[in-house]
């Protein structure tokens, strides 16, 4: 499989493989980090650190433990959350707004230039509130299933199936 080979080369410190993976996932990581920090400059700084860390820690990734995307998503979320705990960040962001990723997408003017933009805007527009919250917590914030069930006051099983349905909906919109 092409992606597997790419990741293997990346682990061997292949610079071209790094660049390809960066192009595949950097927007996604930036989106996740920005959604947590809500500051463009800090988000870019954190993203830079995330990919540098990924490069140095490449050896520790194993495909048996999960997807490469999931591995780097984890690094990005943890780095962004760490940043929110830093004193300097807390001082500058007294009232982090509690909006979901949905608001960012709806207000994102840059999206108009990208493919699937209309689909995604349409999707988030008619996305059920429950879906917004589940996706926000599981993918953008890195909550575990039980943490999400507690936060949303929902049985664990319900989280799992609701999430499944929400992602199905998303796939229909952006992939077809």
């Amino acid at each position: 499989m092409e992606l597997d080979q790419l990741v293997e080369n990346f682990k061997q410190k292949d610079e071209k493989a790094f660049e390809k993976l960066y192009n595949m996932y950097s927007d996604s990581m930036h989106g996740v980090i920005y959604n947590i920090l809500r500051d463009h400059d800090i988000a870019q700084e954190v993203m830079q650190d995330v990919f540098i860390k990924a490069w140095h820690k490449g050896d520790s990734y194993s495909s048996k433990k999960g997807r490469f995307f999931t591995w780097i998503l984890n690094i990005a979320r943890n780095a962004a959350i760490d940043k929110t705990r830093s004193k300097a960040f807390k001082n500058s962001k007294q009232n982090l707004n509690s909006d979901f990723f949905v608001d960012i997408i709806e207000g994102n003017e840059n999206l108009d230039d990208k493919t699937d933009a209309i689909g995604i805007k349409k999707f988030v527009g008619k996305l059920a509130e429950k879906c917004k919250a589940v996706i926000e917590l599981l993918y953008f914030k890195g909550y575990t299933q039980s943490e999400a069930s507690e936060a949303l006051d929902m049985p664990i099983g319900t989280i799992k199936t609701r999430n499944r349905n929400c992602i199905q909906e998303l796939r229909n919109l952006v992939l077809n």
Partner: protein, 268 residues
């Protein structure tokens, strides 16, 4: 295992989210390799999530890639070239700087030594100068004395009285130059031997009728004086001069058997 039910359970969505346990992750991994439809499902979920999360990014991240590549030292060929140019430049400045400071330090040391040497030279020269000044002063004094003598000898008003050796002392002689205007005599005692220990020469002024000796004093510095010319006060109407050898301190009247020289003032 019912693969369809497994997919429908929603576990694969959680797998991509990264919320499964390690054991569950390995289980999904194994099933992906066994069942292509599981793999397909995971790939689609992942693709949808990548697109969703990417749409919350408002920035073009290409320039960040450049910064990351720079930080990680990618394209190291260019870097080594840069270093190889920068290094000799750095060394050249460093070596020159060190060389300059060593030269400067050596120069300073040399100057300090020179200064010390010169100061001691000055001290030696000063000592020599004061020595020479003393010698010059001495010479000036000697010259003055000599000039006085020359003037005396040339003076018309000076009366010369040769004193001839007497009795046992016939081989001795002396001369008196009498400067009547200044009431003084100059005694040239070159022709007298050194007085023995405990004795001094005593100079006498004499009137002949009747024979009356008047002491003009003893010559205490006879041995010490180099030219043996002594200036002596004499306000008497002397008719003759005589020199006797007397005990230290002189005598009231001359000891006649110790009369060395005697001379009569010729009538003018």
């Amino acid at each position: 295992m019912d693969i369809k039910a497994y997919i429908e359970s929603g576990i694969l969505e959680l797998y991509v989210a990264g919320t499964l346990s390690e054991k569950e992750n390995e289980e999904v991994y194994a099933l992906m390799h066994k069942h292509p439809e599981v793999l397909q499902e995971v790939l689609e979920i992942e693709a949808a999530i990548v697109k969703l999360t990417a749409s919350t990014s408002q920035r073009d991240s290409d320039h960040i890639l450049q910064r990351i590549k720079q930080t990680l030292g990618f394209g190291s060929d260019n870097d080594t070239k840069l270093i190889s140019i920068a290094k000799p430049k750095y060394n050249w400045i460093t070596y020159t700087g060190w060389a300059a400071s060593i030269v400067l330090a050596a120069g300073l040391l040399w100057t300090v030594n020179q200064n010390k040497q010169l100061q001691s030279d000055i001290q030696i020269a000063e000592t020599q100068q004061s020595l020479l000044e003393t010698q010059i002063a001495n010479s000036k004094n000697n010259l003055k004395d000599a000039n006085v003598l020359i003037n005396v000898l040339r003076d018309d008003n000076i009366t010369k009285v040769p004193l001839a050796g007497q009795g046992n002392f016939a081989s001795t002689f002396a001369k008196v130059y009498w400067d009547k205007d200044s009431d003084r005599i100059f005694l040239d005692a070159q022709g007298l031997p050194e007085p023995p220990e405990g004795k001094v020469y005593q100079v006498w002024s004499l009137t002949l009728t009747p024979l009356t000796p008047t002491s003009l004093g003893t010559i205490d510095r006879f041995t010490a004086d180099a030219n043996k010319i002594f200036e002596i006060k004499n306000a008497n109407e002397s008719e003759a001069f005589g020199i006797t050898l007397e005990p230290d301190g002189g005598s009231e009247s001359p000891t006649m058997d110790q009369l060395y020289t005697l001379g009569v003032v010729s009538a003018s």
